[in-house]
């Protein structure tokens, strides 16, 4: 009997998330604006916004996003996770 002839029972496999935040090394001013992202100086902060969501769950989301241009000319979006007290990068 060949393996093709016997339908195998499929085990459940986990799905992954797209655009998962990645930890970033960010230095910020007292007011919270980033000055360095992954050891590159920030040339310009283009935009800033807040995301507060899921506050009714056990995993609330409270983030302060910054769309920045680095000195190398590269664009980057970083956010400060107020819940975890850490910085991350993410494609917004």
């Amino acid at each position: 009997m060949t393996s093709e002839a016997v339908p195998r029972a499929r085990a459940a496999r986990p799905a992954g998330r797209v655009n998962e935040p990645r930890p970033a090394l960010v230095e910020a001013r007292f007011g919270g604006e980033p000055t360095h992202v992954n050891r590159q100086a920030v040339a310009l902060v283009r935009e800033e916004w807040r995301v507060v969501d899921r506050w009714w769950t056990e995993e609330p989301v409270s983030r302060r996003y910054f769309d920045v241009v680095l000195e190398s000319g590269q664009n980057a979006v970083v956010f400060h996770d107020d819940e975890r007290g850490r910085w991350f990068t993410q494609k917004a």
């Binding site: 496999r13 998330r17 930890p23």
Partner: protein, 394 residues
């Protein structure tokens, strides 16, 4: 339960099959030619003399001057590993090999056949045989099963229940998690020497300090994921070999020999009209070692010229003269032919080519490597909640 069957130092054990007298002497697997001079697995006698796997060759020889270097023999290792996998499949386990010497399988479907988990695991060990010193671990999580198999004694089956998993993992050494030596050293300097100490750290801090690899190691130290093993599709058993009366290093002769092997292999009736998708070219070298390269074709084919063109350039990589050349059809297409249509629906050719491409990627990189992006909440303000990556195997 997920079970992990482990044979430590498998490539060395396989290479020593030809020279069994060395098994009791200080011996180590020689470094791979053209790569950093680091030794591979070592025998117990070499370990007792202070030699460790991954040591620099010079340091290992200085530590133990009587150390014997054993040539890598990937062909023999591949063959021995395939035999072990088939023996496990023969007794009913749907195996998912991780690397030579380490295989995962699900026990839940077969426990009742052998009268319980312990007996099923003993059956797996018996199928492998005592010569390999195999050990097996079982747990609800993959990494815990691997850790259990790593600490079990030869011939032992170690079962770790879900409730005891954290307690079991905590005192184990940090070396069990796949982390670069420099990162392991960094953690040791920070006073983190055990899995429990790593698991106790905040995940975000570990990720910030050690990056994604560190985060993965941290997650494993906490038990890791629960992904169930998936049974492999057994490789096709179509092999042709050509032995030479004397060692050959002339590329032209080798190319002619390859041409003859391709023709003979394609003429085998067991191929049943199916196309070749993945092939392996193996050579037995004059020094006693072996060499192996696998090729996944972009388009499955049975055209001898295309197969020769795909495999021929690999012959230039041979490190030594050859005494035997062997060609293996590792994977064949499922269909035996294609029914042509008079008028094909628009776009069907593109879809077919896309599916074919995806099958090629799967054949080259293994199951779970092709995923589909599924939008679940495109309106969400949280970017990572908008879509999921779902593994797609068909």
């Amino acid at each position: 339960m997920i079970a992990c069957l482990n044979i430590p130092g498998f490539p060395l054990r396989a290479a020593l099959e030809a020279r069994p007298s060395l098994a009791l002497r200080p011996a180590a697997l020689a470094p791979v030619e053209g790569e950093e001079p680091l030794i591979g697995a070592v025998t117990a006698a070499a370990e007792a003399a202070g030699v460790r796997p991954g040591m620099r060759l010079g340091e290992a020889l200085a530590t133990c001057p009587s150390l014997v270097l054993v040539e890598q023999d990937p062909a023999r290792a591949e063959q021995a590993w395939e035999e072990i996998l088939r023996r496990l499949e023969d007794v009913g386990f749907a195996v998912e090999p991780a690397e030579p010497g380490c295989v995962y399988f699900e026990t839940s479907g077969i426990e009742r056949l052998y009268g319980g988990l312990e007996r099923a695991l003993q059956r797996a060990l018996a199928a492998v045989g005592t010569a390999w010193d195999a050990r097996v671990g079982a747990a609800t999580r993959r990494f815990a099963a691997l850790a259990a198999a790593s600490v079990a004694r030869p011939g032992q089956a170690l079962v770790v229940s879900d409730e005891r998993a954290d307690e079991f993992l905590a005192p184990l050494p940090l070396g069990l998690v796949p982390l670069e030596p420099s990162r392991q050293q960094e953690l040791r300097e920070l006073g983190v020497r055990r899995l429990g100490e790593l698991a106790g750290l905040p995940g975000a801090a570990v990720a910030e300090r050690l990056g994604p690899d560190g985060r993965r190691a941290w997650s494993l130290a906490r038990g890791g994921g629960k992904r169930r093993p998936r049974g492999r599709r057994p490789p096709a058993e179509l092999v042709e070999a050509l032995g030479f009366p004397e060692a050959i290093d002339n590329e032209l002769t080798l190319r002619r020999a390859l041409g003859a092997l391709v023709e003979t292999l394609l003429a085998r009736p067991e191929r049943a009209g199916r196309f070749a998708r993945k092939l392996a070219l193996t050579a037995r070298l004059v020094g006693g070692g072996s060499w192996r390269r696998t090729v996944t074709l972009r388009d499955p084919t049975v055209e001898p010229a295309r197969l020769r063109a795909a495999l021929g350039p690999k012959l230039a990589e041979l490190p030594a003269p050859v005494v035997e050349l062997r060609l293996e059809l590792v994977e064949l297409t499922e269909s035996t032919g294609r029914q042509l249509e008079l008028v094909r629906p628009e776009g069907s050719e593109l879809v077919e080519r896309l599916h074919d491409g995806l099958r090629q990627v799967r054949a080259a990189t293994g199951t779970g490597s092709v995923c589909t992006v599924v939008e679940v909440a495109p309106w969400s303000r949280i970017p990572e909640a908008r879509a999921l990556l779902v593994p797609r195997d068909e």
